[in-house]
Protein backbone atom coordinates (compact mmCIF):
# COMPACT_ATOMS: atom_id res chain seq x y z
CA UNK A 1 0.00 0.00 0.00
CA UNK A 2 1.30 3.43 -0.93
CA UNK A 3 0.09 6.80 0.37
CA UNK A 4 1.50 9.69 -1.65
CA UNK A 5 1.21 13.44 -1.55
CA UNK A 6 1.71 15.45 -4.73
CA UNK A 7 2.66 19.11 -5.27
CA UNK A 8 1.89 20.67 -8.65
CA UNK A 9 2.67 24.23 -9.69
CA UNK A 10 4.20 24.15 -13.18
CA UNK A 11 1.86 26.86 -14.52
CA UNK A 12 -0.85 29.07 -13.02
CA UNK A 13 -2.54 26.34 -10.98
CA UNK A 14 -1.28 25.38 -7.58
CA UNK A 15 -2.50 21.93 -6.58
CA UNK A 16 -1.84 19.55 -3.71
CA UNK A 17 -3.44 16.14 -3.52
CA UNK A 18 -3.18 12.94 -1.53
CA UNK A 19 -3.81 9.47 -2.89
CA UNK A 20 -3.89 6.06 -1.28
CA UNK A 21 -3.53 3.19 -3.76
CA UNK A 22 -5.50 5.01 -6.41
CA UNK A 23 -8.13 6.24 -3.95
CA UNK A 24 -8.26 10.04 -3.88
CA UNK A 25 -8.17 11.37 -0.32
CA UNK A 26 -7.90 15.04 -1.20
CA UNK A 27 -7.44 17.22 -4.27
CA UNK A 28 -7.07 20.95 -3.49
CA UNK A 29 -6.31 23.76 -5.90
CA UNK A 30 -5.91 27.51 -6.31
CA UNK A 31 -5.66 29.27 -9.66
CA UNK A 32 -3.75 32.45 -10.34
CA UNK A 33 -6.08 34.57 -12.43
CA UNK A 34 -4.79 37.52 -14.41
CA UNK A 35 -6.84 40.50 -15.66
CA UNK A 36 -8.54 40.24 -19.09
CA UNK A 37 -6.06 40.66 -21.94
CA UNK A 38 -3.09 39.51 -19.85
CA UNK A 39 -1.32 36.19 -19.57
CA UNK A 40 0.49 34.90 -16.49
CA UNK A 41 4.20 35.58 -16.05
CA UNK A 42 6.68 33.43 -14.12
CA UNK A 43 7.48 35.84 -11.29
CA UNK A 44 3.91 36.77 -10.38
CA UNK A 45 2.79 33.17 -10.72
CA UNK A 46 5.55 32.03 -8.36
CA UNK A 47 4.47 34.70 -5.87
CA UNK A 48 0.90 33.46 -6.06
CA UNK A 49 2.01 29.89 -5.34
CA UNK A 50 4.23 31.06 -2.48
CA UNK A 51 1.39 32.96 -0.85
CA UNK A 52 -1.06 30.08 -1.08
CA UNK A 53 0.95 26.91 -0.71
CA UNK A 54 0.83 26.62 3.08
CA UNK A 55 -2.92 27.07 3.20
CA UNK A 56 -3.47 24.55 0.37
CA UNK A 57 -1.16 22.07 2.07
CA UNK A 58 -3.08 22.35 5.35
CA UNK A 59 -6.35 21.94 3.48
CA UNK A 60 -5.11 18.85 1.62
CA UNK A 61 -3.90 17.23 4.85
CA UNK A 62 -7.10 18.09 6.74
CA UNK A 63 -9.39 16.78 3.99
CA UNK A 64 -7.44 13.55 3.60
CA UNK A 65 -7.81 12.65 7.25
CA UNK A 66 -4.28 11.29 7.40
CA UNK A 67 -1.22 12.52 9.24
CA UNK A 68 2.13 13.23 7.57
CA UNK A 69 3.57 10.18 9.34
CA UNK A 70 1.34 7.91 7.26
CA UNK A 71 2.68 9.27 3.95
CA UNK A 72 5.10 6.98 2.08
CA UNK A 73 6.43 9.34 -0.55
CA UNK A 74 6.42 13.08 -1.23
CA UNK A 75 5.98 13.80 -4.95
CA UNK A 76 6.32 17.06 -6.83
CA UNK A 77 6.36 18.22 -10.44
CA UNK A 78 9.93 18.23 -11.71
CA UNK A 79 8.89 19.69 -15.09
CA UNK A 80 8.12 20.70 -17.73
CA UNK A 81 6.85 24.13 -16.85
CA UNK A 82 7.86 27.61 -15.76
CA UNK A 83 11.03 27.65 -13.70
CA UNK A 84 10.05 29.94 -10.83
CA UNK A 85 6.63 28.42 -10.04
CA UNK A 86 8.07 24.91 -10.31
CA UNK A 87 10.78 25.86 -7.84
CA UNK A 88 8.26 27.05 -5.23
CA UNK A 89 6.62 23.61 -5.11
CA UNK A 90 9.95 21.77 -5.23
CA UNK A 91 11.24 23.69 -2.24
CA UNK A 92 8.16 23.05 -0.15
CA UNK A 93 8.15 19.37 -1.20
CA UNK A 94 11.82 18.99 -0.21
CA UNK A 95 11.13 20.68 3.10
CA UNK A 96 8.22 18.34 3.84
CA UNK A 97 10.29 15.29 2.87
CA UNK A 98 13.06 16.32 5.27
CA UNK A 99 10.68 17.38 8.02
CA UNK A 100 8.61 14.21 7.86
CA UNK A 101 11.63 12.05 7.03
CA UNK A 102 10.09 10.63 3.84
CA UNK A 103 11.54 9.83 0.41
CA UNK A 104 11.03 12.42 -2.33
CA UNK A 105 10.22 11.83 -5.99
CA UNK A 106 10.13 14.29 -8.90
CA UNK A 107 7.39 13.53 -11.41
CA UNK A 108 7.01 14.44 -15.08
CA UNK A 109 3.89 16.60 -15.37
CA UNK A 110 2.71 14.98 -18.62
CA UNK A 111 3.06 11.49 -17.16
CA UNK A 112 0.95 12.70 -14.22
CA UNK A 113 -1.87 13.62 -16.61
CA UNK A 114 -1.67 10.31 -18.47
CA UNK A 115 -1.64 8.12 -15.36
CA UNK A 116 -4.44 10.09 -13.72
CA UNK A 117 -6.54 9.69 -16.87
CA UNK A 118 -5.89 5.95 -16.93
CA UNK A 119 -6.80 5.67 -13.25
CA UNK A 120 -10.07 7.58 -13.50
CA UNK A 121 -11.32 6.18 -16.81
CA UNK A 122 -9.83 2.67 -16.58
CA UNK A 123 -8.59 3.02 -20.17
CA UNK A 124 -6.08 0.23 -20.59
CA UNK A 125 -3.66 1.08 -23.38
CA UNK A 126 -5.07 4.17 -25.06
CA UNK A 127 -3.74 6.56 -27.65
CA UNK A 128 -3.49 9.71 -25.56
CA UNK A 129 -4.30 13.21 -26.75
CA UNK A 130 -2.63 15.54 -24.30
CA UNK A 131 -3.86 19.08 -24.77
CA UNK A 132 -3.15 21.95 -22.43
CA UNK A 133 -1.81 25.48 -22.28
CA UNK A 134 1.73 24.37 -23.06
CA UNK A 135 1.30 20.98 -24.65
CA UNK A 136 -0.24 19.34 -27.65
CA UNK A 137 0.91 15.78 -28.04
CA UNK A 138 -0.33 12.44 -29.32
CA UNK A 139 1.17 9.77 -27.13
CA UNK A 140 1.14 5.98 -27.13
CA UNK A 141 2.90 3.53 -24.86
CA UNK A 142 5.51 1.16 -26.19
CA UNK A 143 8.38 -0.65 -24.51
CA UNK A 144 8.47 1.19 -21.16
CA UNK A 145 8.05 4.70 -22.53
CA UNK A 146 5.20 6.97 -23.46
CA UNK A 147 6.22 7.74 -27.03
CA UNK A 148 5.26 10.96 -28.76
CA UNK A 149 3.74 10.17 -32.15
CA UNK A 150 2.51 13.62 -32.94
CA UNK A 151 2.78 17.10 -31.52
CA UNK A 152 2.48 20.75 -32.35
CA UNK A 153 5.24 22.14 -34.50
CA UNK A 154 4.87 25.56 -32.87
CA UNK A 155 2.37 26.68 -30.20
CA UNK A 156 0.14 24.53 -27.98
CA UNK A 157 -3.60 24.46 -28.53
CA UNK A 158 -4.35 25.91 -25.10
CA UNK A 159 -1.95 28.72 -25.80
CA UNK A 160 -3.66 29.36 -29.13
CA UNK A 161 -7.11 29.54 -27.46
CA UNK A 162 -5.87 31.64 -24.53
CA UNK A 163 -4.18 34.13 -26.79
CA UNK A 164 -7.28 34.46 -28.89
CA UNK A 165 -9.30 35.05 -25.72
CA UNK A 166 -6.88 37.88 -24.96
CA UNK A 167 -7.43 39.36 -28.42
CA UNK A 168 -11.15 39.45 -27.62
CA UNK A 169 -10.41 40.66 -24.08
CA UNK A 170 -12.37 37.79 -22.55
CA UNK A 171 -12.12 37.18 -18.83
CA UNK A 172 -9.43 34.82 -17.56
CA UNK A 173 -11.79 33.50 -14.86
CA UNK A 174 -12.23 30.64 -14.39
CA UNK A 175 -10.04 30.17 -17.48
CA UNK A 176 -9.87 31.79 -20.90
CA UNK A 177 -10.47 28.43 -22.61
CA UNK A 178 -13.68 27.93 -20.66
CA UNK A 179 -14.96 31.31 -21.78
CA UNK A 180 -14.11 30.58 -25.41
CA UNK A 181 -16.05 27.34 -25.09
CA UNK A 182 -19.13 29.14 -23.73
CA UNK A 183 -18.96 31.79 -26.47
CA UNK A 184 -18.51 29.13 -29.15
CA UNK A 185 -21.78 27.52 -28.13
CA UNK A 186 -23.56 30.66 -29.33
CA UNK A 187 -21.62 30.94 -32.59
CA UNK A 188 -23.46 30.23 -35.83
CA UNK A 189 -21.55 31.50 -38.81
CA UNK A 190 -18.57 29.42 -39.80
CA UNK A 191 -15.44 31.17 -41.03
CA UNK A 192 -12.89 29.19 -43.03
CA UNK A 193 -9.53 29.37 -41.27
CA UNK A 194 -6.07 28.04 -42.16
CA UNK A 195 -6.00 24.29 -41.52
CA UNK A 196 -2.52 22.89 -41.08
CA UNK A 197 -1.81 19.22 -40.46
CA UNK A 198 1.58 17.59 -41.17
CA UNK A 199 1.24 13.85 -40.77
CA UNK A 200 0.63 13.32 -37.06
CA UNK A 201 1.80 16.85 -36.26
CA UNK A 202 -0.09 20.13 -36.36
CA UNK A 203 0.85 23.76 -36.71
CA UNK A 204 -1.31 26.29 -34.88
CA UNK A 205 0.57 29.57 -35.04
CA UNK A 206 -0.72 30.30 -38.56
CA UNK A 207 -4.38 30.24 -37.55
CA UNK A 208 -3.74 32.48 -34.55
CA UNK A 209 -1.82 35.10 -36.48
CA UNK A 210 -4.40 34.95 -39.27
CA UNK A 211 -7.07 35.99 -36.76
CA UNK A 212 -4.89 38.45 -34.86
CA UNK A 213 -3.88 40.23 -38.05
CA UNK A 214 -7.41 40.90 -39.26
CA UNK A 215 -9.47 40.94 -36.09
CA UNK A 216 -11.06 44.34 -36.73
CA UNK A 217 -12.11 43.38 -40.24
CA UNK A 218 -13.41 40.01 -39.10
CA UNK A 219 -15.52 41.60 -36.39
CA UNK A 220 -17.40 43.54 -39.06
CA UNK A 221 -18.82 40.34 -40.56
CA UNK A 222 -18.67 37.92 -37.67
CA UNK A 223 -19.62 38.14 -34.01
CA UNK A 224 -17.00 37.24 -31.37
CA UNK A 225 -19.13 34.13 -30.77
CA UNK A 226 -18.83 33.15 -34.45
CA UNK A 227 -15.07 33.54 -34.27
CA UNK A 228 -14.74 31.43 -31.12
CA UNK A 229 -16.92 28.80 -32.74
CA UNK A 230 -14.92 28.79 -35.97
CA UNK A 231 -11.62 28.66 -34.14
CA UNK A 232 -12.72 25.72 -32.00
CA UNK A 233 -14.22 23.82 -34.91
CA UNK A 234 -11.04 24.21 -36.92
CA UNK A 235 -8.37 23.46 -34.33
CA UNK A 236 -10.33 20.60 -32.79
CA UNK A 237 -10.87 19.07 -36.23
CA UNK A 238 -7.08 19.15 -36.68
CA UNK A 239 -6.56 17.46 -33.31
CA UNK A 240 -9.14 14.77 -33.97
CA UNK A 241 -7.59 14.15 -37.38
CA UNK A 242 -4.07 13.59 -36.06
CA UNK A 243 -5.41 11.43 -33.23
CA UNK A 244 -7.18 9.26 -35.75
CA UNK A 245 -4.04 9.06 -37.87
CA UNK A 246 -2.02 7.89 -34.88
CA UNK A 247 -4.71 5.33 -34.02
CA UNK A 248 -4.59 3.89 -37.53
CA UNK A 249 -0.81 3.86 -37.44
CA UNK A 250 -0.68 2.13 -34.03
CA UNK A 251 -3.73 -0.08 -34.61
CA UNK A 252 -5.29 1.33 -31.44
CA UNK A 253 -8.97 1.39 -30.56
CA UNK A 254 -8.94 3.55 -27.43
CA UNK A 255 -8.48 7.29 -27.04
CA UNK A 256 -7.87 9.09 -23.79
CA UNK A 257 -8.04 12.88 -23.68
CA UNK A 258 -6.08 14.58 -20.90
CA UNK A 259 -4.87 18.08 -20.04
CA UNK A 260 -6.75 21.31 -19.43
CA UNK A 261 -8.20 21.64 -22.94
CA UNK A 262 -9.40 18.04 -22.54
CA UNK A 263 -12.37 19.13 -20.46
CA UNK A 264 -13.76 21.04 -23.44
CA UNK A 265 -17.02 19.27 -24.16
CA UNK A 266 -17.01 20.09 -27.85
CA UNK A 267 -13.59 18.47 -28.24
CA UNK A 268 -14.82 15.41 -26.36
CA UNK A 269 -17.92 15.28 -28.53
CA UNK A 270 -15.97 15.51 -31.79
CA UNK A 271 -13.54 12.85 -30.63
CA UNK A 272 -16.49 10.65 -29.65
CA UNK A 273 -17.98 10.91 -33.14
CA UNK A 274 -14.64 10.02 -34.73
CA UNK A 275 -14.32 7.01 -32.42
CA UNK A 276 -17.80 5.74 -33.18
CA UNK A 277 -17.00 5.97 -36.91
CA UNK A 278 -14.11 3.56 -36.43
CA UNK A 279 -15.43 1.33 -33.67
CA UNK A 280 -13.17 2.78 -31.01
CA UNK A 281 -13.77 3.94 -27.45
CA UNK A 282 -13.21 7.38 -26.01
CA UNK A 283 -12.20 8.15 -22.45
CA UNK A 284 -12.12 11.59 -20.86
CA UNK A 285 -12.28 13.14 -17.42
CA UNK A 286 -13.79 16.30 -16.02
CA UNK A 287 -12.15 19.51 -14.82
CA UNK A 288 -11.17 18.05 -11.41
CA UNK A 289 -8.61 15.82 -13.10
CA UNK A 290 -8.11 17.35 -16.56
CA UNK A 291 -6.93 20.64 -15.21
CA UNK A 292 -3.55 20.58 -13.48
CA UNK A 293 -3.85 19.12 -10.01
CA UNK A 294 -1.73 17.70 -7.23
CA UNK A 295 -3.35 14.31 -7.03
CA UNK A 296 -2.14 13.33 -10.51
CA UNK A 297 1.42 14.00 -9.39
CA UNK A 298 0.82 11.97 -6.23
CA UNK A 299 -0.65 9.08 -8.20
CA UNK A 300 2.06 8.92 -10.89
CA UNK A 301 4.70 9.24 -8.16
CA UNK A 302 3.07 6.44 -6.16
CA UNK A 303 3.17 4.13 -9.19
CA UNK A 304 6.86 4.83 -9.74
CA UNK A 305 7.62 4.50 -6.03
CA UNK A 306 5.84 1.15 -5.82
CA UNK A 307 7.86 -0.02 -8.84
CA UNK A 308 11.07 0.85 -7.02
CA UNK A 309 11.96 4.21 -8.59
CA UNK A 310 13.94 6.34 -6.11
CA UNK A 311 15.39 9.84 -6.26
CA UNK A 312 18.19 11.06 -4.00
CA UNK A 313 17.41 14.44 -2.44
CA UNK A 314 20.20 16.15 -4.36
CA UNK A 315 18.47 15.16 -7.63
CA UNK A 316 15.17 16.64 -6.49
CA UNK A 317 15.50 19.70 -8.73
CA UNK A 318 13.30 21.16 -11.45
CA UNK A 319 13.71 21.32 -15.21
CA UNK A 320 11.71 23.53 -17.57
CA UNK A 321 12.15 21.13 -20.46
CA UNK A 322 11.31 17.55 -19.64
CA UNK A 323 9.90 15.45 -22.45
CA UNK A 324 7.26 12.79 -21.93
CA UNK A 325 9.47 10.18 -23.58
CA UNK A 326 12.41 10.94 -21.27
CA UNK A 327 10.74 8.99 -18.47
CA UNK A 328 11.39 5.27 -18.02
CA UNK A 329 7.99 3.79 -17.20
CA UNK A 330 9.06 1.33 -14.52
CA UNK A 331 5.49 0.51 -13.46
CA UNK A 332 4.30 -0.99 -16.75
CA UNK A 333 5.65 -4.15 -18.32
CA UNK A 334 3.15 -4.67 -21.15
Amino acid sequence: MVIAIGFEGSANKLGIGIVKDGEILSNCRRTYITPPGEGFLPRETAEHHQQNIHEVLQEALDQSGITPQEIDVVCYTKGPGMGAPLTVCAIVARTCALLWNKPILGVNHCIGHIEMGRLITKANNPTVLYVSGGNTQIIAYSRQRYRIFGETLDIAVGNCLDRFARVLKLSNAPSPGYNIEQMAKKGKKYLHLPYCVKGMDVSLSGILSYMEDRIDELLKDYTPEDLCYSLQETVFAMLVEITERAMAHCASDEVLIVGGVGCNERLQEMMGVMCSERGANIFATDERFCIDNGVMIAHAGALAHAAGTRMPLEHATVTQRYRTDDVLVTWRDD
Binding site: S10, S132, G134, R143, D201
Partner: protein
Protein backbone atom coordinates in the same frame (compact mmCIF):
# COMPACT_ATOMS: atom_id res chain seq x y z
CA UNK B 1 -21.69 -1.86 -57.70
CA UNK B 2 -21.38 -0.64 -54.12
CA UNK B 3 -23.17 -3.78 -52.92
CA UNK B 4 -20.27 -5.93 -54.16
CA UNK B 5 -17.52 -3.85 -52.59
CA UNK B 6 -15.47 -5.62 -49.99
CA UNK B 7 -13.98 -3.49 -47.28
CA UNK B 8 -10.27 -4.12 -46.84
CA UNK B 9 -9.65 -1.82 -43.90
CA UNK B 10 -10.23 1.59 -42.42
CA UNK B 11 -7.09 3.70 -42.69
CA UNK B 12 -6.20 7.01 -41.11
CA UNK B 13 -8.82 8.97 -43.00
CA UNK B 14 -10.37 6.70 -45.57
CA UNK B 15 -12.15 3.40 -45.97
CA UNK B 16 -10.44 1.07 -48.41
CA UNK B 17 -12.45 -1.31 -50.55
CA UNK B 18 -11.25 -3.87 -53.03
CA UNK B 19 -12.86 -4.55 -56.35
CA UNK B 20 -12.09 -5.43 -59.90
CA UNK B 21 -11.93 -2.50 -62.29
CA UNK B 22 -11.52 -3.28 -65.98
CA UNK B 23 -10.08 -6.66 -65.09
CA UNK B 24 -7.45 -5.32 -62.71
CA UNK B 25 -7.23 -5.74 -58.93
CA UNK B 26 -8.31 -2.33 -57.70
CA UNK B 27 -8.36 -0.51 -54.44
CA UNK B 28 -10.98 2.13 -53.82
CA UNK B 29 -9.96 4.75 -51.33
CA UNK B 30 -13.08 6.47 -50.09
CA UNK B 31 -12.73 9.56 -47.97
CA UNK B 32 -16.10 9.11 -46.31
CA UNK B 33 -17.89 12.00 -44.67
CA UNK B 34 -16.45 12.77 -41.26
CA UNK B 35 -19.34 13.79 -39.07
CA UNK B 36 -17.12 15.16 -36.34
CA UNK B 37 -16.16 18.19 -38.40
CA UNK B 38 -18.14 21.04 -39.86
CA UNK B 39 -19.65 19.99 -43.21
CA UNK B 40 -18.03 22.92 -45.06
CA UNK B 41 -14.65 22.06 -43.65
CA UNK B 42 -15.17 18.39 -44.41
CA UNK B 43 -16.07 19.10 -48.02
CA UNK B 44 -13.13 21.40 -48.63
CA UNK B 45 -10.59 19.13 -46.93
CA UNK B 46 -11.83 16.06 -48.77
CA UNK B 47 -11.77 17.73 -52.18
CA UNK B 48 -8.31 19.04 -51.58
CA UNK B 49 -6.97 15.69 -50.38
CA UNK B 50 -8.35 13.82 -53.37
CA UNK B 51 -6.86 16.39 -55.70
CA UNK B 52 -3.49 16.26 -53.93
CA UNK B 53 -3.38 12.50 -54.01
CA UNK B 54 -4.22 12.24 -57.70
CA UNK B 55 -1.81 15.00 -58.68
CA UNK B 56 1.12 13.63 -56.74
CA UNK B 57 0.65 10.08 -58.01
CA UNK B 58 0.89 11.40 -61.54
CA UNK B 59 3.89 13.55 -60.71
CA UNK B 60 5.67 10.65 -59.03
CA UNK B 61 5.36 8.65 -62.19
CA UNK B 62 7.33 11.31 -64.08
CA UNK B 63 9.83 11.49 -61.26
CA UNK B 64 10.42 7.74 -61.30
CA UNK B 65 8.95 7.12 -57.86
CA UNK B 66 6.86 3.97 -57.73
CA UNK B 67 3.25 4.46 -56.55
CA UNK B 68 -0.01 2.64 -57.25
CA UNK B 69 -1.28 3.47 -60.74
CA UNK B 70 -4.21 5.85 -60.73
CA UNK B 71 -7.34 4.50 -62.44
CA UNK B 72 -10.17 6.86 -61.70
CA UNK B 73 -11.13 9.84 -59.58
CA UNK B 74 -14.75 10.25 -58.50
CA UNK B 75 -15.20 13.51 -56.59
CA UNK B 76 -18.92 12.93 -56.28
CA UNK B 77 -18.46 9.75 -54.28
CA UNK B 78 -15.22 10.94 -52.73
CA UNK B 79 -13.27 8.06 -54.23
CA UNK B 80 -9.98 7.31 -55.86
CA UNK B 81 -9.59 4.05 -57.76
CA UNK B 82 -6.03 2.79 -57.89
CA UNK B 83 -3.88 -0.24 -58.47
CA UNK B 84 -4.12 -2.68 -55.59
CA UNK B 85 -0.91 -4.44 -54.62
CA UNK B 86 -2.47 -7.63 -53.38
CA UNK B 87 0.86 -9.06 -52.32
CA UNK B 88 2.53 -6.35 -50.35
CA UNK B 89 3.58 -5.50 -46.82
CA UNK B 90 3.88 -2.09 -45.20
CA UNK B 91 7.42 -1.15 -44.18
CA UNK B 92 6.00 -0.78 -40.69
CA UNK B 93 4.88 -4.39 -40.51
CA UNK B 94 8.10 -5.55 -42.16
CA UNK B 95 10.18 -3.90 -39.44
CA UNK B 96 7.94 -5.14 -36.63
CA UNK B 97 8.19 -8.69 -37.99
CA UNK B 98 11.98 -8.41 -38.12
CA UNK B 99 12.10 -8.57 -34.33
CA UNK B 100 11.27 -12.26 -34.28
CA UNK B 101 14.01 -13.16 -36.75
CA UNK B 102 16.90 -10.90 -35.73
CA UNK B 103 20.13 -11.95 -37.35
CA UNK B 104 22.85 -10.00 -39.12
CA UNK B 105 21.64 -10.77 -42.64
CA UNK B 106 18.19 -9.42 -41.84
CA UNK B 107 19.69 -6.25 -40.44
CA UNK B 108 21.57 -5.74 -43.70
CA UNK B 109 18.26 -6.05 -45.50
CA UNK B 110 16.84 -3.30 -43.30
CA UNK B 111 19.84 -1.13 -44.23
CA UNK B 112 19.16 -1.76 -47.90
CA UNK B 113 15.55 -0.62 -47.41
CA UNK B 114 16.64 2.40 -45.38
CA UNK B 115 18.87 3.45 -48.26
CA UNK B 116 16.04 2.89 -50.68
CA UNK B 117 13.70 5.03 -48.57
CA UNK B 118 16.27 7.83 -48.30
CA UNK B 119 16.88 7.86 -52.04
CA UNK B 120 13.17 7.74 -52.82
CA UNK B 121 12.26 10.61 -50.50
CA UNK B 122 15.07 12.62 -52.05
CA UNK B 123 13.76 11.85 -55.52
CA UNK B 124 10.33 13.17 -54.52
CA UNK B 125 11.85 16.29 -53.02
CA UNK B 126 14.00 16.92 -56.11
CA UNK B 127 10.74 17.03 -57.99
CA UNK B 128 9.21 19.31 -55.35
CA UNK B 129 6.76 16.66 -54.18
CA UNK B 130 6.30 17.05 -50.44
CA UNK B 131 4.62 13.90 -49.16
CA UNK B 132 3.24 15.40 -45.94
CA UNK B 133 2.75 12.12 -44.07
CA UNK B 134 5.95 10.14 -44.31
CA UNK B 135 5.52 7.17 -42.04
CA UNK B 136 6.27 3.50 -42.48
CA UNK B 137 2.50 2.86 -42.79
CA UNK B 138 2.63 4.76 -46.04
CA UNK B 139 5.42 2.74 -47.64
CA UNK B 140 4.86 -0.69 -49.14
CA UNK B 141 7.24 -3.39 -50.22
CA UNK B 142 6.30 -5.41 -53.29
CA UNK B 143 8.08 -8.09 -55.29
CA UNK B 144 9.50 -7.20 -58.68
CA UNK B 145 8.92 -10.76 -59.87
CA UNK B 146 6.20 -12.60 -57.98
CA UNK B 147 7.71 -15.61 -56.24
CA UNK B 148 6.42 -18.50 -54.21
CA UNK B 149 8.78 -17.86 -51.32
CA UNK B 150 7.13 -18.18 -47.90
CA UNK B 151 5.69 -14.97 -46.46
CA UNK B 152 8.21 -14.77 -43.60
CA UNK B 153 11.33 -14.83 -45.81
CA UNK B 154 10.00 -13.31 -49.03
CA UNK B 155 10.44 -9.72 -47.86
CA UNK B 156 14.07 -10.33 -46.92
CA UNK B 157 15.03 -11.15 -50.48
CA UNK B 158 15.89 -7.53 -51.16
CA UNK B 159 17.19 -7.86 -54.69
CA UNK B 160 13.64 -8.75 -55.75
CA UNK B 161 11.90 -6.03 -53.72
CA UNK B 162 10.64 -2.62 -54.74
CA UNK B 163 9.51 0.27 -52.56
CA UNK B 164 6.11 1.84 -53.23
CA UNK B 165 5.04 5.14 -51.73
CA UNK B 166 1.32 5.58 -50.99
CA UNK B 167 -1.15 7.92 -49.28
CA UNK B 168 -0.56 11.31 -50.90
CA UNK B 169 -3.58 13.02 -49.35
CA UNK B 170 -1.44 15.47 -47.39
CA UNK B 171 1.04 15.98 -50.19
CA UNK B 172 1.61 19.17 -52.11
CA UNK B 173 3.98 20.64 -54.63
CA UNK B 174 6.38 23.22 -53.28
CA UNK B 175 9.84 24.40 -54.17
CA UNK B 176 10.75 25.74 -50.71
CA UNK B 177 13.37 24.05 -48.54
CA UNK B 178 11.30 24.65 -45.39
CA UNK B 179 8.67 22.09 -46.42
CA UNK B 180 11.35 19.53 -47.21
CA UNK B 181 12.81 20.07 -43.77
CA UNK B 182 9.40 19.56 -42.15
CA UNK B 183 8.81 16.44 -44.26
CA UNK B 184 12.08 14.96 -42.98
CA UNK B 185 11.31 15.94 -39.39
CA UNK B 186 7.87 14.29 -39.59
CA UNK B 187 9.56 11.13 -40.86
CA UNK B 188 12.16 11.21 -38.12
CA UNK B 189 9.54 11.58 -35.40
CA UNK B 190 7.41 8.79 -36.84
CA UNK B 191 10.44 6.48 -36.87
CA UNK B 192 11.54 7.36 -33.34
CA UNK B 193 8.09 6.64 -31.94
CA UNK B 194 7.13 3.63 -34.05
CA UNK B 195 10.47 1.88 -34.40
CA UNK B 196 12.17 2.81 -31.17
CA UNK B 197 14.01 -0.51 -31.18
CA UNK B 198 15.96 0.68 -34.25
CA UNK B 199 17.30 4.04 -33.07
CA UNK B 200 19.65 4.48 -36.05
CA UNK B 201 17.06 4.01 -38.73
CA UNK B 202 16.48 7.69 -39.45
CA UNK B 203 20.16 8.60 -39.62
CA UNK B 204 20.73 5.81 -42.14
CA UNK B 205 17.80 7.07 -44.23
CA UNK B 206 19.01 10.66 -43.94
CA UNK B 207 22.52 9.69 -45.09
CA UNK B 208 21.06 8.03 -48.17
CA UNK B 209 18.90 11.11 -48.72
CA UNK B 210 21.95 13.37 -48.57
CA UNK B 211 24.15 11.28 -50.80
CA UNK B 212 21.50 10.73 -53.47
CA UNK B 213 22.04 14.24 -54.77
CA UNK B 214 23.92 17.33 -53.62
CA UNK B 215 21.53 19.95 -54.95
CA UNK B 216 20.39 22.38 -52.21
CA UNK B 217 21.31 19.81 -49.61
CA UNK B 218 22.99 22.29 -47.22
CA UNK B 219 19.87 24.48 -47.16
CA UNK B 220 17.58 21.52 -46.61
CA UNK B 221 19.70 20.17 -43.75
CA UNK B 222 19.80 23.55 -42.09
CA UNK B 223 16.00 23.99 -42.42
CA UNK B 224 15.46 20.51 -41.01
CA UNK B 225 17.68 21.41 -38.07
CA UNK B 226 15.73 24.65 -37.50
CA UNK B 227 12.41 22.83 -37.39
CA UNK B 228 13.88 20.27 -35.02
CA UNK B 229 15.36 22.91 -32.72
CA UNK B 230 12.00 24.69 -32.54
CA UNK B 231 10.51 21.48 -31.17
CA UNK B 232 13.27 21.04 -28.60
CA UNK B 233 13.14 24.64 -27.41
CA UNK B 234 9.48 24.70 -26.47
CA UNK B 235 9.14 24.75 -22.70
CA UNK B 236 5.68 23.15 -22.55
CA UNK B 237 4.14 24.97 -19.63
CA UNK B 238 0.93 23.52 -18.21
Amino acid sequence: MSAELKILKQGAEAKLYICNYLGKPTLIKERFKKNYRHPDLDTSITKERIKNEARSIVRCKTAGVKTPALYLVDFERRRIYMEHFEHSITVKDFIINLKSTTNQGDMNTLDVYADLIGGTVRKMHENNIIHGDLTTSNMLLIEKDPSNIAENTKWLNHSNIELVIIDFGLSFIDTSVEDKGVDLYVLERALISTHNDYPNLFSRIFEAYKSYSKKNIKEIISKYEDVRARGRKRTMVG
